[in-house]
């Protein structure tokens, strides 16, 4: 037994309202740069729908993930090592930019600088790849809320496995949202596909990362990932992916998508697993047994034997403690209401979902019945085969039994809690019918419905004795003209173009990219010098041209022009990114 810890996320789909706040905040934090316009580490899909990139779940076409050979071994679906090397000059299974969408901006400047004329000026869409006018035909969310899906929904790969008439009917019956990030799989096929060995799984917390210094842009990881959550940065020529916000996790903060989730539907916590069993579990013969196989890989953190083994593997005590308090472990193991996304890809994904009961409730309610009555709900779950089969296509390789079991538990919770709210006893027979007790269901209700921040996110910090290595603690002098500066300045231009030079720590890099964008309307098209794009301005600092010139002496910087920027002594005064009440600085320039 080799115990390893995995940072895991569970999302409760019943609570997702499809507001895309997670996607937007993630994008602002990580991918608001040239080259990553089309990159959404987090995206929210309306299901049934095509997903992003279009039809990524169709593995006959995209060849992601693993397959089991006849001899019972695992093989990359797109081909093993020899085939990877043979197709290295042209990867036949790489999605093109049009399978995502062509990124664009609008010619906003025309609205302000157009000469007076008969017609109202318009802001035309301009391609961010060519700078030319373009017509927008697709985007990351084109079929949001089933918009236009009469034309496209038939191509949903999950629906294609169901029958034709079912799809027709389904459009009138149900819809739900599916937020997706990188799955940080236990058996990651992207890592296996990387010829350079630049992708790796972190031993401590299982986060899958791309070493930007080692990536050579062979693009095999994009093909390897069945979830298409590794993206190719077309500006730097390197692969990028969701990092599970590791700089935040290391200091005990939840990911940006979790932190900003309006519905509070995300849970973060550790799961302990036996690394020795991963290979066998992933090679389980029947894809419908993969869910059970993956569950069998997990280790109970309350088991004294597991705790001893974990200690001997060097897992710190506070991490074991966090694993015992993990909300994710409770949802996966204690209540068994969380399921993995597409276990049939054999990657053992580690972002799990509580499937939504709402589509069933909606159908019952719209037919004039009581959508929260236990008996009605139980009956509806068994009868409404369409949502059930669809959910099974997503979460259990087509086997409806696990999904039905989860939905019945959610139904028992919903109807039971209504009884409690009406001042009656919790109906124990409902709890017993789904194999739980009333107390257990009320605990589950608490976790799913009203759990506080500290209960939803149980994140042990990285260890302080190695705090100097933490990315967020990076020395501030090492960037942007400081004495330790590498090749990459504010404009990102090293001697060999924008992608060269030593990379700055991720958080700092994004910070500077944001600063640069605050003072530029768009990388292409006309721009009025000195104009600040207020949409990108974070409210800190004094971008040139935003405020009238300073009366006192014409120096645009409130800290005075005397001190060298980034000099060792200037830390407090030079920190314009600090909070507004920073005593050393005067970010607003009030003097």
């Amino acid at each position: 037994m080799k115990v390893m810890a995995q940072m895991t996320m569970v999302m409760n789909l019943d609570k997702c309202i499809g507001c895309h706040t997670c996607s937007v905040t993630c994008k602002q934090a990580w991918t608001n740069r040239t080259g990553t316009e089309y990159v959404w580490f987090n995206n929210v899909e309306t299901r049934p729908g095509l997903g992003y990139p279009r039809t990524y779940e169709d593995q006959e076409r995209w060849q992601g993930g693993w397959v089991r050979t006849r001899r019972g071994r695992l093989k990359l679906r797109a081909g093993g090592r020899a085939k990877k090397l043979a197709t290295i000059f042209h990867n036949p299974r790489l999605p093109s930019i049009h399978d995502y969408y062509e990124p664009w901006t609008y010619e906003y400047d025309m609205l302000l600088s157009a000469p007076q004329g008969e017609h109202t000026p318009v802001a035309r869409p301009k391609s961010l790849l060519t700078g030319d006018d373009m017509s927008i035909r697709w985007s990351a969310n084109w079929d949001d809320d089933l918009g236009g899906s009469t034309a496209t929904m038939q191509d949903d790969p999950v629906l294609k496995h169901m029958s034709e008439h079912v799809a027709e009917e389904l459009e009138q019956t149900f819809m739900f949202y599916l937020p997706r990030i990188c799955e940080h799989c236990l058996n990651p096929s992207c890592v296996a596909s990387c010829p350079s060995g630049a992708m790796y799984k972190r031993v401590e917390d299982g986060i899958v990362l791309v070493d930007q210094d080692q990536c050579r842009g062979w693009r095999m990881c994009v093909t390897g990932c069945p979830y298409k959550k590794v993206y190719f940065n077309h500006k730097t020529g390197k692969a990028e992916k969701c990092t599970l916000c590791y700089p935040r996790l290391e200091v005990g903060l939840p990911t940006v998508c979790s932190e900003t989730c309006v519905g509070r539907l995300r849970y973060l916590g550790l799961v302990l697993y036996d690394a020795d069993k991963v290979g066998t579990a992933a090679a389980t013969e029947d894809t419908r047994d993969l869910l059970a196989a993956q569950r069998s890989v997990f280790l109970d953190p309350h088991d004294p034997e597991v705790v001893t083994a974990a200690r001997s593997e060097g897992i710190p005590d506070d991490w074991i403690d966090a694993a015992q308090r993990s909300p994710v472990w409770r949802l996966i193991h204690d209540y068994e209401v969380a399921l993995p996304l597409h276990p049939e890809y054999r990657t053992l994904p580690m972002v799990w979902y509580v499937p939504p009961l709402s589509p069933v409730v909606d159908v019952v309610a719209s037919s004039g019945n009581d959508g929260e009555d236990g008996r009605t709900l139980f009956a509806a779950i068994s009868q409404l085969r369409i949502p059930l089969e669809y959910l099974a296509g997503l979460f259990s390789a087509g086997d409806t039994a696990p999904v039905e079991r989860v939905l019945r538990r959610l139904a028992a919770m919903r109807s039971g809690m209504r009884e409690v709210n009406l001042g009656r006893e919790f109906p124990e027979e409902h709890a017993a019918a789904v194999g739980m007790t009333g107390a257990q269901i009320q605990e589950m209700y608490r976790l799913l419905a009203i759990a506080k921040y500290s209960e939803r996110y149980v994140i042990p910090t990285a260890h302080t004795e190695i705090a100097h290595d933490l990315d967020e603690m990076a020395c501030s002098l090492d960037v942007d003209g400081g004495p330790g500066m590498g090749g990459q300045g504010t404009d990102g231009a090293g001697p060999f173009g924008s992608s060269s030079g030593r990379p700055t720590p991720v958080a700092v890099e994004n910070f500077h990219a944001l600063a640069a964008r605050q003072t530029a309307d768009s990388p292409y098209g006309p721009s009025t010098p000195g104009r600040v794009n207020l949409l990108n301005w974070d409210g800190n600092g004094r971008p040139a041209g935003l405020f009238p010139p300073d009366d006192a002496g014409g120096s645009p910087s409130p800290g005075g022009g005397g001190e060298p920027p980034g000099a060792p002594g200037s830390l407090p005064g030079g920190r314009q990114d600090a909070t507004h009440d920073d005593p050393g600085g005067s970010p607003g320039g009030a003097r």
């Binding site: 060519t130 210094d213 501030s476 002098l477 992608s499």
Partner: protein, 258 residues
């Protein structure tokens, strides 16, 4: 041996300087610019032409490199010792070489056409790329021309470069250069050599460095790579003189004012 100064410069100084620039430049770039060390693939923008041109070019080039090694490194006496006559060698080298050259030239033409005609690909082309294309195209075309001109059109056994160019090339590695051997070599070969040396001199500073990172270790490593956070460290390696002694009081970076 009587060699004029131009001969010494062209066939002794230039090769050694080229070699030095190639080695030192590559080491320097690897140390300084690992992040910029990539293929800079444009497959995301355009796939159809790339599917045709790229394998044609790259596989052709691998054949061409193999042919050059055969011709330059293996002495004539060795091939004759194993019973390969000059006539047979010439026949094989010329015709295999021509097929490879045809693939490379066709692939290059497709790739250059693609680069010029596909909007996003053209916009992603840097000035260094353009210089590299001129030198790469130049050395391929002069090489192809030298083969056609002196080997195919000349008739007979053609020009025997294994009496002149190959011994000169090996003499550079023995550190006993013999520039006199290059005196009577046809102009087409001389041009090919000079353009190629120029290409090798700019090599470390262009995207061609991706050739040095061919993933030959991939077949020999386990599929899934694990790394410890401590081993991989933070996003950057600490540099001399800046090892932190205490945790900085703040967690954010300082920013230079505009």
């Amino acid at each position: 041996m009587d060699v004029n100064p131009a001969g010494i410069v062209l066939w002794v100084v230039v090769p050694y300087v080229t070699f030095a620039v190639l080695v030192v430049g590559s080491v320097w770039r690897y140390r300084y610019d690992k992040f910029g060390w990539t293929t800079r693939s444009s497959e995301l923008y355009e796939k159809r032409l790339l599917r045709l041109g790229s394998p044609l070019f790259h596989y052709g080039l691998l054949l061409v490199i193999l042919g050059h090694l055969m011709g330059l490194v293996v002495p004539k006496e060795w091939t004759e010792a194993v019973g390969l006559s000059e006539g047979a060698y010439h026949f094989v080298a010329t015709w295999l070489g021509s097929v490879a050259a045809l693939a490379v030239v066709a692939g290059l033409l497709i790739l250059v056409y693609r680069r010029r005609s596909t909007g996003p690909v053209f916009l992603a082309t840097t000035r260094t790329d353009k210089l590299m294309y001129v030198l790469l195209g130049g050395s391929i075309l002069t090489g192809a021309w030298a083969t056609v001109h002196t080997q195919i059109l000349a008739g007979g056994h053609g020009y025997d470069y294994r009496q002149t160019i190959s011994p000169w090339f090996r003499s550079l590695w023995y550190l006993q250069p013999e520039p006199a051997l290059m005196a009577g070599v046809p102009a087409a070969f001389q041009a090919h050599l000079l353009v190629a040396m120029l290409l090798f001199a700019v090599w470390p500073f262009t995207r061609l460095v991706h050739a040095f990172s061919a993933p030959v270790q991939y077949p020999f490593r386990p599929y899934v790579v694990y790394r410890s956070r401590e081993a991989s460290g933070a996003a950057r390696a600490p540099r001399a003189g800046w090892d932190p002694t205490t945790t900085p009081p703040t967690t954010g970076p300082s920013r230079r004012r505009p």
